[in-house]
Symmetry: D2
Subunit: 333 residues, 4 copies
């Protein structure tokens, strides 16, 4: 097999996740009444330093959409970036879960919303029954281009949400990578959020993401909706086990730091090619088709990004030798 | 821990399932493009002796509802038994997935539909735009009371579906138990179905059910809807691995036979208490509250079924010693 | 044309309704910002002796469903009679408007819910995430069989709703007939309701029903949903005009009394045939097919009700001579 | 009252519409089984020179959304202009009626789609299950800026729809104005459409729009959905009467020509101010706030269009004296 820089979403499962799952094999109460699931609120509460209500789900799409459905009525809207995953890569799942709520698209470099772009989106909406009114803002931490929102940015967006009476959702499919890059506390990286999709699958997990409600009243609603969406697994203990193992000894950060370090190494090999600063584990490099062919001929596997660029993604288990080889190969192009 | 007869839905995972999952750890293409997922159609096709299109999903609710959503428009209806799981235990998930289609409730002993009860349900509907028109029939094999549809019954219901232009869905959360009891081929037990929810989680699996489309055109639609419902896991290879392991060496039947045998042993211990014939791995026994207390005091764990009955469920790994002990304890009541 | 006892839903429009519509022809602000629409809250507030927020809509189905959608989340349920219009004659509209909420069916003679039948429906539901939880009760005043809820009955049902934390919706497609029969105040006939579908079309109107919110906060939500459902007509002044004319000089009661009187005359002609007491403007009479043929041969037009009964409906403009003739013809059968 | 150039959507009802409604007062079969509703298919069939299936509905939003719901599955998308009414002014109604389908926004001057902009929208979509796939194109004839698609443009867009396997919907809220401007046949102005929302309310009607299906199979589905949406009025004969009167003697064109003529007169008064060519009955003029104040002080009523422009709309009954006065006043600014 090629040296993998395609994506982090199909990487191997971390050994400690496997161990935790095996340890959970003994029968327990079904659904989320098992001893492991019941530890989630406390475990994430300790991590974030505040009350949490936490639901496991199998995918980031389910986490994002259950969060939005708890915050936005069917006739409402969600402000998000034009290139947000919920807009571009979930086959309309937000429309399904929210029963037709509208994604109100806003701009911003690096797929990051800004105060100005959010204001522009809100300002364009007449406050009458003919137009869909916003009920929430959704930001992606780190963004689709691997950009992180700094704590000061999050703080301002949170204040803006409060000012307009909007909920705040953070899509954290790569939240670990953002926190590892920022070096801040987990809460600083999502402060003000009503709900956070805390990703694990891309970070060494198998099939569990944590849907973390800081507005804990929303969780009761989401529990019903999770069942209604067919996401309440009867052997939920295996999902809880993954999440708890991820928090244990900060495995989530350990894994993210490894992925980020490989990404930094690659970025430093070709600073002039970088289309976006490297703030997580994704790189977007200008690169011609022949150059991409040349790399692939050397055994590197990655996605094209349009006609003149490449996307490289590192993972928790990216082999340092592979990263070094790719860095060298890029520098040599 | 008590001797478990609560449910099969939280039992341990079979060792061969674990092995198959471990063997799938090496990175593969994400979603359902991995080598294992790509084997599903052929593997189930061989099992059923006909073309199949197979999707893995995490839960029976998701399997049932994706099937129904592919067969029934939002303004349509599904004929099912008044006590069907889709009606009583999925928190309205069919209404969510089908966008509001109606479950048209029919009667029948042992939670089994009959030709007459289906005809009665259809006959009560005026053919005009004011009433919801049926588009499918859903039967549960084995039923909520552990009753199996014999091949001749399935054949007649299938013909009835054809006659009325209705799709046929089989909820097979305990399909293995039904087939093991009936001693027929898998196809005979679901003949005429457009789609089958082939259960594995209750039968020694961890987190994978097979949604089997015999009407393979419906599968394309279901693939979009699966993504849209947040059920397209990126490491889908772990779900495919479970399903393939279940078919390998007929593990699904081996497991079901073990569960059924324990159920038969319990049933034979108290024939006069049986509220329904034992045709799968569930038993419903008349039993007073003091009797139930007495059993629990001996270490047996099970659900009350209303005020004067108990539900016992066996699993692939029910300890024969536990089953024997419970049989003896019941006989001694 | 035959002497009409088919339905009140296609009767002619009352002359005062026509006059009011003509008077509304001069251009006004569009939607519900015209001078007439702005009078609705006060006019209905005076009628009911309490604060109201009133929306016009074109049909009873839209009124019922907008009310329910304001009271019940997509994952919730509505307790209603098995033969309620929302269950049997709206093509699944409640499922559409509420995004899949479930109608939880209860029993009761004459298509009327009772305290006991509501309790039975609630009592059958486990309070967990696997079953749909009720959020509202919907009663029909007068019922599908022309039966009225007496004020004391409404009072008790309202208390029951409060006790269980449920909203209360009254489908008043024939509310006028019920109030005219009961001789009570309008509020007494719907007391405790959060929302009332106040019917006009069956009572001499053309195309306007009043959706009356006594829980006025729900109205803001319903206004958005009305637009979203394509029910916000730009020349809404013509609907408001109908509703105001209906209240003016108690035209709604005058019309209902006329229809009720004709129904009473028919009922007194054949007391032994009555399947239900006559408490509004509908009669259900046991009647053989030859008897029905005999009446039709004399020029009377009405619906069969199953094989051995007939449904007769009177309207605001039922010709007294026609009613007398039919009463005589029935008595002579 | 001011001299009205606010909108055509609240103008008075044409006398011949009133007459037709009064003539329809005698009771008929309810819903759409009356003699008038049964004439619609033939009447519109004659107008368009081809088979049609026609449903009346109360609003353009309902017509648009029932059409789209018949053409697009919940997981699908509709390509429309970024400023289309269905996107900007229907409170998310398309999302409601289609159960969450996505509006895929495209560009184009004057709120008109072009071959290139449609291709760009389609080309940006990966053909996989992660992205919403288009199922239809919706164009507005005349557009939100009063621009008409010429027959040659419609022909090309229709061919493009066929090429991509997409349905074609035409929002014709002001279809009459477009046809009157173009001087073509009605079919030429919407050629290739599967469904047309044929507007009447803005053109002298009261409460009826025609939803015209040229793909007549879609109509059966739309009839069920119309009922399900609460849009099947029991006295539907009054809606059919309006539509038939509109076609009688080409009243729809007579009215549109009058409105267009007034718009042309206004446009010729200030050619330098025109932001868009005048091809229907709407004008968008650059105009400073003091200029707008000056016009309003002279008794003219109209909407601001952003900070530096005004929108003027003429109607079937715009008083020629008012139009002349306004033309003069604008020229004199």
């Amino acid at each position: 097999m090629a040296m993998q820089f395609l994506s982090d979403n199909a990487a191997a499962v971390h050994p400690r996740i496997w161990e935790a799952m095996r340890a959970a094999d003994a029968p327990q109460s079904p659904y989320d009444n098992d001893a492991l699931s019941l530890q989630l609120d406390a475990a994430f509460g300790a991590l974030f330093g505040r009350d949490c209500a936490v639901l496991w789900v199998a995918t980031g799409t389910a986490a994002n959409c259950l969060a939005l459905a708890a915050m936005v009525p069917p006739h409402g809207g969600v402000i998000c970036h034009r290139e947000a995953h919920i807009e571009t890569d979930e086959c309309g799942a937000p429309g399904f879960y929210t029963h037709g709520a509208k994604l109100i698209l806003a701009e911003g470099e690096g797929a990051k919303l800004t105060l100005a772009s959010i204001d522009a989106a809100i300002g364009a909406i007449r406050k009458d029954v003919h137009q869909v009114q916003p009920h929430a803002i959704s930001v992606t931490q780190a963004s689709e281009y691997g950009r992180a929102y700094h704590p000061a940015e999050m703080e301002k967006i949170a204040a803006q949400a409060v000012q307009h009476g909007l909920g705040l959702h953070v899509d954290g499919a790569r939240f670990a990578n953002a926190v590892a890059f920022l070096g801040c506390t987990p809460w600083e990286a999502c402060q003000g959020a009503s709900a956070l999709s805390f990703g694990c699958v891309k970070n060494g997990g198998m099939s569990a993401e944590a849907l973390v409600f800081f507005d804990t009243q929303l969780a009761d609603l989401a529990r019903l909706r999770r069942k209604r969406a067919g996401h309440l697994q009867s052997k939920g203990r295996f999902l809880a086990a993954q999440l708890l193992a991820m928090l244990e000894g900060d495995l989530w950060l350990v894994n993210a730091r490894a992925a980020n370090a490989a990404a930094q190494e690659l970025g430093q090999a070709a600073p002039d090619r970088l289309m976006h600063p490297v703030e997580a584990n994704e790189l977007f490099l200008t690169m011609t088709a022949p150059e991409r062919d040349a790399l692939r001929a050397q055994g590197f596997s990655f996605y094209d990004w349009g006609d003149n660029a490449a996307r490289l993604v590192t993972a928790w288990n990216t082999d340092p030798a592979h990263a070094a080889a790719l860095a060298e190969a890029i520098a040599a192009l």
